[in-house]
Point group: C2
Chain length 281, copies 2
């Protein structure tokens, strides 16, 4: 099931063509996006997602619609989705047609959650560590590299996922050139150490995670400690648990890393998942 909404509030056929071949989103990956989970008609972390979309757009000097227009677009999709349960909404804004009038291309594409996503939530994943090749100081030093912006230029993220699949793994954890942990291609890394959660800082050139922030909020309220500070790759194997968190997959246990079993994190994962879900109860 899919449903496409355009900025003018109309619904459109998601299988029809709506984009020109000279759209800079297509020819240059020049645009931004967010993916938001909706459960029983209620979006999760819509505000933080839209804030991040606007922040990404600023990093790209991209003129995007204002917050109320995004909220209206989102509400259109939520109102039109015909099924109970959960679905996801991808919000996209590109720089528009290269030979056009400068109008950005904006749409919201809602889609059902796929069975393999549900399976990963339930059973956890295997992951491999892959070098992302940059040092943690680069993002601040070189803003033109757009580290920490959620752009449409995701070819590397997709190639890393394919590389993982080619060695029999489900997921990737990227590391910086100094051996510090960065993020997954489409997720935030959270390490569980006793009653403490830890995730790498956004200043290292990664996306600030909307789901990670919600999880930290919920966990802190329940007495956990939650720290945003560097995580070394060696910390992963030594931790009580490694989680990959993201909007659509929610909270996922990493069961093996580079083919080696990690400690069984079912206990803390169950508790943290419950705390996270209660944020929206």
């Amino acid at each position: 099931m899919r449903l496409l909404a355009l900025l003018d509030g109309t619904l459109a056929d998601p299988e029809a063509a709506h984009v020109r071949v000279d759209d800079l989103g297509l020819t240059r990956g020049d645009g931004v996006f967010e993916t938001v989970l909706v459960v029983d008609g209620r979006p999760r972390e819509l505000g933080p997602h839209l804030d991040r979309l606007l922040r990404s757009a600023r990093m790209l000097d991209l003129a995007v619609p204002a917050l109320p227009e995004w909220e209206r677009l989102f509400a259109t999709v939520v109102a039109a989705w015909p099924e109970p349960g959960e679905f996801a909404v991808k919000l996209v804004c590109t720089r528009g047609a290269e030979y056009g009038d400068g109008t950005p291309t904006v749409f919201a594409l809602a889609f059902s959650i796929e069975p393999h996503t549900v399976e990963k939530r339930r059973n956890g994943v295997s992951a491999v560590v892959l070098d992302r090749g940059f040092d943690p100081g680069l993002a601040e030093r070189a803003p033109w590299l757009l580290l920490g912006a959620k752009t449409l230029s995701y070819a590397v993220n997709m190639a890393a996922q394919r590389h993982a699949a080619s060695v029999g793994a489900d997921e990737v954890i990227f590391t910086a050139s100094d051996g510090s942990v960065l993020e997954g291609p489409t997720s935030t890394v959270v390490v569980v150490e006793g009653r403490t959660l830890r995730t790498p800082p956004a200043s290292s050139g990664i996306l600030p995670g909307t789901t990670q922030a919600a999880l930290f909020r919920a966990a802190e309220r329940a007495g956990w400690a939650a720290k945003v500070e560097p995580v070394l790759v060696d910390d992963l194997a030594a931790a009580d648990g490694v989680l990959l968190v993201s909007s659509v997959r929610r909270i996922v246990r990493v069961r093996t890393l580079d083919g080696v079993d990690l400690p069984d994190a079912t206990g803390p994962w169950t508790e943290l998942s419950d705390l996270y879900e209660r944020e929206y109860a």
Copy 2:
């Protein structure tokens, strides 16, 4: 003037929509491209461009049409272009619609050369050196980063160009973390030292240049030496000339680097441009 051709040999309206919103070229920058110059009905370096397109596609595990299909598509465009003189053709292949039947999206978009391109050819450009953040060994070590593949994920290349414009410069020369020269966002760097040309090796994670290869061929035949070996950023200011070469702009002099005048390279530039043009006479 623009002209759009599809893989089935038909021409289509370049201002109409032809692409779905879930095309992975749009949502993930997941595809490859080449831009080929055509002068007086004759394409320049079409073979090397198509070879590079297929090489990029292999790096992305992307199923693309075979060489004869690309050649047919290209011939369609050349035959249909109604004006004399020169134009450029962008060849694009994406992974197709995410929720589709797996067919790649393929097209050729021909377009007139813009006046600012002609102006850069004639008058040269100002350039700034920007850190690309990776070391020259990374490409071989981390193939999932797609360094050296010409993908649609060009947001960083575009952001670097915008950064250059924001400090009053026309172009960018990227450097690696060890201070070695890489490439421009859409061009190859060539250094002139006496009667010797030098360009950095593709193994450093850059695109092998089709125009650079043609220029080296022509120059060597005329008695120049041409070397593919590392270039340090300090070599740029010390050289007799710095050139940025690319298909559409051809051979462009860098007049100033980070705001400092470089030696006047009009002499070697004129000779090398003549040699390059004679390749196609």
